[in-house]
């Protein structure tokens, strides 16, 4: 997993609640068998005027020059709800996003994002609202997210956020969670030995 310590980048606002994973990456792109190459299809239906992705929608923020190279996404409540598709964080990271800031995230998306080094920064609705005001008044404003200090800086705004300490530790060090768990093989085997017969095996 890619390490995350401190990141500063252009923030792009998407002023919608309940941005579901079907919008982040529509179903027709889930037929791929690799983890790469989803960035070009990110927000397909909003970002392009045609299915072939040759005509960018000039009204969509990601296509506006002031947000070129954006690496931080700011959205409203319940970001990433719906389907469990990990293709959503794959598309966001492949596009170049390192963090998403919102008042709340759907559980499965949150797990998937953090497992891919995409930091989900949960702020209060009021704090997110203040960021929206700054980004609307001054498009192209950069935001700094520090996982070391657990802070968000956007112009004069300064906020703190929290994250599970273990997940933070894994992100700061770019740790492979499977390798970590495999170190506990003996404990897993002991657990299996204690299981009742009906549960231990498929009959």
């Amino acid at each position: 997993m890619q390490k995350f310590t401190v990141h500063e980048g252009v923030a792009v606002p998407l002023d919608s609640a309940n941005i579901d994973t079907d919008q982040i990456i529509p179903k027709q792109f889930l037929l791929a068998v690799s983890r790469k190459g989803f960035g070009v299809h990110l927000f397909h239906d909003w970002r392009y005027l045609d299915d072939a992705e040759t005509k960018p929608n000039p009204e969509f923020n990601l296509n506006k020059p002031e947000y070129a190279g954006a690496t931080i996404l700011v959205a409203r409540d319940n970001f990433g709800n719906g389907s469990s598709r990990e293709h959503a964080p794959w598309a966001l990271t492949d596009y170049g996003f390192r963090a998403v800031i919102a008042p709340s995230f759907a559980n499965i998306f949150n797990n998937n994002a953090l497992g891919n080094g995409l930091v989900t920064v949960k702020l209060t609705e009021h704090e997110v609202d203040q960021i929206f005001q700054v980004l609307t008044a001054h498009p192209g404003t950069k935001i700094k997210v520090s996982l070391e200090d657990m802070t968000v800086d956007c112009a004069d705004l300064h906020f703190t956020f929290s994250l599970d300490p273990f997940i933070r530790h894994c992100l700061l060090n770019g740790l492979d969670s499977i390798a970590l768990t495999l170190e506990h093989g003996a404990e897993i085997s002991a657990f299996e030995d204690r299981m009742p017969a009906w549960e231990r095996a498929v009959h």
């Binding site: 309940n18 389907s83 990990e86 559980n107 969670s177 506990h184 009742p196 009906w198 009959h203």
Partner: protein, 466 residues
């Protein structure tokens, strides 16, 4: 203090917890399908790992297969590549696969219960958000992403924090023409699409106790639609009777021992829930969605709300955006709105009882002119059972297309797509923008309601047909 059902199952599966770490829980059962597994299998192979317990893993294909033909060539080239990858991966790693056309092939969340793979008191995961379905058995079941699929494949465990707990008590009994689907839509409408985020939900109360096993699955299936990754129901004799004798169910003494344990799987009287919601099931009428998330719903006698009726500016904007997409006007009565397509199927409502309920409405009636209607059984077993009961003939006589099992137009990954601008009466679980096809408009409802809509060609109160 006592424990909730969720806490009992969770605590029984903690393998180890190191200081400052999330607990690692054991995963008893893992369901795999073609869309969210190829990258996980590839990761296992690249790291030179193996599946720890292929014997606890079961695979089938459902998301992108054709519902018109059993031939692989009927799928798109990319879908074929994905399906072939599942066939090769399951063979390479020793996982049981139910391929296209086999007796147990179907939607993962229908195959698990129907084979007895899903059991009370187990932990069950799948790379699919509707894994909550299996909570209907008192299993701790939740959807995961592909990286977690790979983690389960390699370790048979997951790092998983404790969720908060929510009790949803459904008092009274559902009325005539009102089904589990109506109950869950009403619950989602009450809680909104994010109201359950961070919670393991337990459904209980008289209305839930009187639901069949299949109705309970419909209820648990849509827990994720109000944000709850887990939606459990305490197992009882309805559950045990359903499981007994199924292919993978414990047999003989193992079954008796299991049932003795399963009977302890209920929330203690003094258990603490972080949130409690009570809903009067007897007051619910047939429900349907009017917007673009499942929480934007109301009763069939209802009208479309005005964005201005919401005080929260974010909710107001969501409503306005939804109405612009779905092409409905504030104050408009939902009943009588013309529809173009009907879809009966999905992991929410693709079980045999769903087809029986729809057939009861369709018998001796015809699909309205100009309406395209699809009946897509949730599994090969459901299809064959329906055919044994003669239900397929009722659907065909009415003018429905009787298809092969798969996820089909629920998410439109195969070629079953609703055209842009068309309005669909659908028994699936998501009415998101473009979900059933780019530009299509979805109204979620029960199978009986969808059947009534097919007959009238409009959004319809099914109670007039019963």
């Amino acid at each position: 203090m006592g424990k909730t059902l969720y806490e009992k199952v969770y605590d029984a599966h903690v393998v180890f917890q190191k200081e400052g770490e999330l607990p690692t829980i054991y995963i008893d059962r893992h369901l795999v399908h073609e869309v969210t597994s190829p990258q996980a299998f590839a990761g296992i192979e690249q790291a030179g790992r193996r599946l720890r317990r292929p014997d606890l893993t079961l695979a089938t294909m459902d998301h992108d297969i054709s519902t018109k033909s059993l031939e692989l060539s009927a799928c798109s080239p990319m879908a074929q590549q994905q399906i072939k990858a599942l066939m090769e991966n399951t063979k390479k790693f020793g996982v049981t696969l139910y391929p296209i056309g086999s007796a147990n092939q179907g939607i993962v969340h229908i195959v698990g219960p129907q084979t007895g793979f899903t059991l009370p008191g187990t932990t069950l995961v799948c790379g699919d958000s509707h894994t909550a379905t299996h909570g209907a058995f008192g299993a701790l079941a939740f959807g995961i992403g592909t990286s977690q699929v790979e983690h389960v494949m390699a370790t048979q465990t997951l790092k998983q924090g404790r969720l908060k707990t929510m009790k949803i008590e459904c008092t009274g009994r559902l009325g005539k023409g009102v089904y589990a689907k109506d109950l869950i839509l009403a619950i989602i409408g009450r809680l909104t699409t994010a109201g359950g985020t961070g919670y393991a939900v337990e459904f209980c109360g008289e209305a839930v106790e009187h639901l069949s096993m299949e109705g309970r699955m419909t209820l648990s299936n849509m827990a994720i639609e109000f944000g709850a990754p887990v939606g459990m129901i305490a197992p009882d004799d309805v559950t045990f009777d359903y499981i007994k004798g199924r292919l993978y169910a414990p047999k003989g003494r193992d079954f008796e021992e299991a049932v003795a344990y399963w009977r302890t799987l209920k929330s203690d009287p003094d258990a603490h829930f972080d949130a409690v919601v009570t809903i009067d099931a007897s007051a619910i009428e047939p429900q349907l969605t009017w917007g673009t998330n499942p929480g934007q719903e109301c009763g069939i006698s209802g009208t479309v709300p005005a964005p201005e009726s919401f005080s929260d500016p974010v909710v107001r904007k969501s409503c306005a955006d939804a109405l612009a997409y779905i092409d409905l006007k504030p104050g408009q009565k939902l009943a009588g709105t013309p529809i173009d397509l009907v879809f009966i199927g999905s992991c929410t409502n693709g079980r045999i009882e769903d087809f029986r309920a729809a057939a009861a409405v369709l018998k001796g009636r015809k699909v309205a002119p100009g309406v395209t209607a699809l009946a897509v059984p949730g599994s090969m077993w459901v299809k064959e059972q329906a055919e044994r009961e003669g239900l397929d003939q009722i659907f065909k006589d009415a003018g429905f297309e009787w298809r092969l099992p798969g996820c089909s137009m629920c998410l439109a990954m195969n070629d079953d797509r609703a055209p842009a601008g068309k309005r669909v009466a659908s028994t699936s679980n998501r009415n998101f923008v473009g979900r059933q096809g780019k530009g299509s408009r979805t109204h979620l409802m029960s199978p009986a309601s969808a059947a009534a809509c097919a007959v009238t060609g409009t959004l319809t109160d099914v109670r007039a047909f019963l």
